[in-house]
Every structure is written in C-alpha cells, then in structure tokens.
Symmetry: C2
Subunit: 323 residues, 2 copies
C-alpha cells in the first residue's frame, strides 16, 4: 500500500464533500421531503461549506409513476429551481441517473439552460458500455460527470480493472468507488481506492468514495480512502440512507480540518429538522444490515426484515446462509 | 508506519478476544445484571470462542457501598464461582481494578485459590507508579496482569513514552491502548499502537486495544490497530458500554477469520437477552458523544445530557466549546 496523502492536521484543497441526503436518504422515505426541509438543507449545506448537494434521481417517468414518489425521484428542472433559484452560491448541484432507469436523452437540458452542475451515472459493472454512452452524452451537454460503479465487491479484480480502463478513455471527471453492500473494511476499501487512483490519475480524473454503514464502517472507510488520495467524499446528514445508511456528514465535517467546513450550521439543521424526521423514518446500523454486509450481499432482505418488524434475527441469519 | 501484520484472509494465532460486556456495560446499568444473564453470557462466550470474559470491577467496598451497586462492581470470589464453578472451560476470566479505587491487598486471593486468571489494572498516566505497584503485587500472587492507561489522547507523547518505558521494566503481560474519550481515528490509534508495540515487543509483552464508539470508530480502530500487531482486543455484546459504548463483539467475530470464533452462538444470546435489555438500558453512538469525542474530552457531560433527555444539541455543543 502506498503512503498516505496529507495528514490528520492539514488541509487538502482537492477534497470535495457531496451531500447525498435527499438522494440516498430519499430511498428511506420515497423521496417524500417537504420543500421547507430541502430548502433549509440547501441553505445549511452552503453555510457548512459542502461542495456539492445532490437533489435526487433523474428517473424515467415512463418507468416510474410520479404519483408513487416524491418529486426528488425525478428532479425536474423547475422543481430544483423552486428551491435554489439560479443557485448563485458556490455550491454545485448534482443529480444521479441510473443506467437503464432514466430517459437521459429526453430529460437533460443543455447545461447552459440547467441549474444542475454534475450528473452522476450509476451502473453495475456489466452496464459499463451503457454508462459510458451516458457519460459521453452528458459531457457533450456540458455537465461535469461521475461514474459510480455499484457492487464491485462482488466483481472480479479483472472486471474492475477492465471497467476502470474503459472509463479512462472517456471524458468522465470522477470515478466513484461505491461500497454498495457495506462489505468493505478500511483495508480492502483502500486497496480498491488505490487501484482506482492508479487508473484515474494517469487520465487526469478524480476518485470518489460512497460508503454504507452495514458494518459501522462508512465513516472509517471514507477517511481511510481519503488518506490514500480519494478526494470526492459522499455523506448524508445523520447518515440518512437506504438500510444501514451512509457516512454521517457531521462526523465527516468534524474530521476535516479545512476551516471552510462548518459543523455548527449543520447541528442547527439537525436539531430542527432531522430529530422530528427520525421519529417517522428509520435507517442506520442494525444487526440485519450487519449480516448482509458481512456476507457481501444486497441489503434488500434485511430491509424487508426491518420493515416487517421481525425480531427473529437468528432465523434471518440462517436464511441468508442458504443463499 | 510499518507494514500490516497478517491479512484480511488469514488467522493470527496471537489474537485474544476479551468480552467486557459486564464490566464496561455495567457502567450503563449500575452492574444490575441478573444471574441468568451473566450465566448465559458466560456460556455464550465459551461457545463463541471468546478468550477472556471480564466479570466486572474489583472495587473497594470501603469506598463504594454494596447497597448502591450490583455485585459485578466488586466481583467477590464467591459471586464469580456461583456463575462459573471452577471454570473448567478454556476461556479465561478477568476483572478490572482501578488504581486508587480498590483494596487490592485485601481483596485478591492468591491465584491458586481464585478462579480469576487475569487482573487488568486501570490508571491515568499520572498514576503509573501506583499502577506498577499493583501489577507487581498481583503478578506475585500469580495472576496474568494488564495495565490499561486511560486518557492517553490528552497526554503528551513524552509522558506516554515515559509510561511505556516504566511498564517494560515490570512483569506486566499486556499493555492496553485505551481510547478513553473516543477521540482517536484509525490512523492516530494505529500510530499510538505502533509506539506501544515498539516498547512492548522488546520486553516480550503484548499490546491490547480498548475502543469507544463516540465517532463510530470503535470497530474500525480495533481492526486497524489489530492489523498493526495489537493482539488483545476488547469488545462488548452490541457495543454495550458507557456513553457511546465499545467495539461490538458481533462485528469483531464477523471479521475474524479464525474458525474458533463463532458468531451464531452470540446471535442466539443477543436475540434472547440483549433485545429486552436494550429496551431498558440505553447506550451507543449519539450526537453528544460525537461532540466529546471530536473535542477529545471526557464523556461525562454528554452522559448527563442524554440522561436528562435534553434535545438542545446546539446549546450543549456550545457549552463544550466554553470549556
């Protein structure tokens, strides 16, 4: 393993913090956030020095009915503008688009007509050609682009290297290492991060990390990959996100030494908006998510277990071993 | 930083797992565990391959009234024997004794008359001479001994090196790095661990790690220091411990690759005994503990905040900055 980049006392100017609360947190509540919540989070993120705020998904309205989801599943231009106006802040705005679940040719405006700055293309590793097509299209529209390859902990090292090699030949700006199943340890996440960096740096690209908290390691994996050279860091307020959730923003802002990041502004938001939300919506580290993380499998069975309010943890664990 | 010892796939035979649930968890409920709970935990730890089970403190009965605490504050020989008989298992039994809060000359039997195998002497760094006196006395009685230096994150590096140097000249078997305030990151914990190891290894001693979860890093710090050569690892069931709690045993057993460790037996215990307990006793990662961890200070104010069921997180945070 290579040496660390930066140290615990200093500032690395290449670091970018991305708030994914509405997007990954929206998976917990069907994107049912009030406009007040989103507006106040937007203001909070600006005050806290967050670099990017992700508003949600750009999902296909032919595949998903607007009646079944809150508006941040679709992130229509006018809905984002209703919150941010022309976004005169320094904070950039991102949306995520899943390969195979969006109508990217119909739904993205040219960048100069949109308040969106960055599009993050999410795909599984067998979808790389489709992801690259999207990246190239969105880059040509003028957007910054990311590619988030999901589920790499189940892929072979050959596949991962192949995918990284394909991406280095595209205009993508940031390649994200995603610990989709929350199965990575700091040591394994950082080994993968160094592989990603070895491809990305040669091509002038950045690497990001998106963690899940199944093994209570989302923050640890985020700062360990950071110390290896990863620079785009995803977090959500109080870790709000599907299943075990993500890296909590308050832990990350408390760790980063750059004085542009301000924890106190975030605490004001948490006290007023997150505490009431937590009484209605549930997420975070729980045993069933630990099981799927340890076993490196998708959390969907654990999410169902929690939704059914089951308490037979042992039976559930055995059922996972049957897979 | 030196290279890692062992890897994510293999087994290191020097690893010893210590269950501190009754001892550190007892700080959450005044050591008020039923005999059934302790007996079943004892059996569970044996089935799960745990190497040491800590039964509690050996606290002074002249300083602390037996009416005010459960019996595991005092760990009388007959109380431990009521649970374990002669402890015919391979698992060893430990107790903790705080410098200045125990009557070690009166309360410890010679090892051959006791079912206790190991005594862990806990001290702050200014108490090293008193700790060493205890270590030598208890070693002469025939016990394995540990020294857990608390609060080292507030000590100077010179003080830490001085303390480690003093310990290398004693018969102590294990020197514990304790992240008392939950302020350490994997990188800083491992740097300290390597310092501890540099002293310990020359003197033929082992190093242990005891984490706290204030920044959701107890497990991460445990496995990172492990990978640097630490071999004694503290954990508690579901992380039960004062304030933000400790490294959860279920995460640690799920991580270790030695087939002697068995997660399923622990899950059976959790389902039957921990879930009801969690409805009455509260511990674990919460914002106020994150604050004290980030600020490297004692969790007592955060514990009081939680006990008072206050919700004014911002006011509390500001009060900590006043200190």
């Amino acid at each position: 393993m290579t040496s660390r980049k930066g140290n615990l006392m200093g500032v690395r100017d290449d670091v970018k913090v991305l708030d994914a609360t509405i997007r990954d947190g929206g998976l917990c509540n069907n994107f049912d956030f009030t406009d007040e919540f989103v507006t106040e989070l937007y203001k909070t993120n600006i005050r806290s020095g967050v670099d990017y705020m992700e508003f949600g998904y750009k999902a296909s309205r032919s595949m998903f009915s607007e009646k079944d989801y809150g508006k941040w599943k679709f992130c229509k231009e006018e809905d984002i503008r209703a919150i941010v106006g022309d976004n005169i802040s320094d904070m950039k705005i991102s949306v995520m688009a899943d390969v195979g679940r969006c109508d990217f040719r119909a739904d993205f405006l040219p960048k100069e007509e949109s308040v969106i700055d960055m599009v993050r293309v999410a795909c599984y590793i067998h979808q790389m050609p489709a992801a690259i097509e999207m990246v190239e299209y969105l880059h040509d529209l003028g957007y910054e682009t990311c590619c988030n390859i999901m589920g790499v902990s189940q892929a072979s090292m050959n596949q991962v290297e192949e995918a990284l090699g394909m991406l280095t030949d595209t205009p993508v700006d940031v390649i994200y290492l995603s610990d989709t199943f929350g199965s990575m340890y700091p040591e394994s996440a950082s080994e993968l991060a160094e592989l990603y960096l070895s491809f990305a740096e040669k091509a002038g690209k950045k690497v990001g990390f998106h963690g899940h908290n199944n093994q209570s390691l989302a923050f640890a994996n985020t700062i360990d990959t950071l110390s290896r050279g990863v620079s785009y860091l995803d977090a959500t307020v109080q870790g709000m996100g599907r299943g075990a959730g993500n890296c909590p923003m308050e832990l990350l802002l408390g760790f980063l030494k750059n004085p542009k990041y301000n924890l106190y502004s975030l605490l004001v938001f948490i006290e007023k908006y997150m505490l009431p939300l937590r009484e209605k919506v549930r997420w975070g580290y729980e045993l069933p998510y630990m099981f799927t993380g340890q076993l490196n499998c998708h959390p969907r069975d654990a999410i169902a277990f929690m939704e059914e309010q089951r308490k037979d943890y042992c039976e559930f664990y055995k059922s996972l071993l049957d897979n």
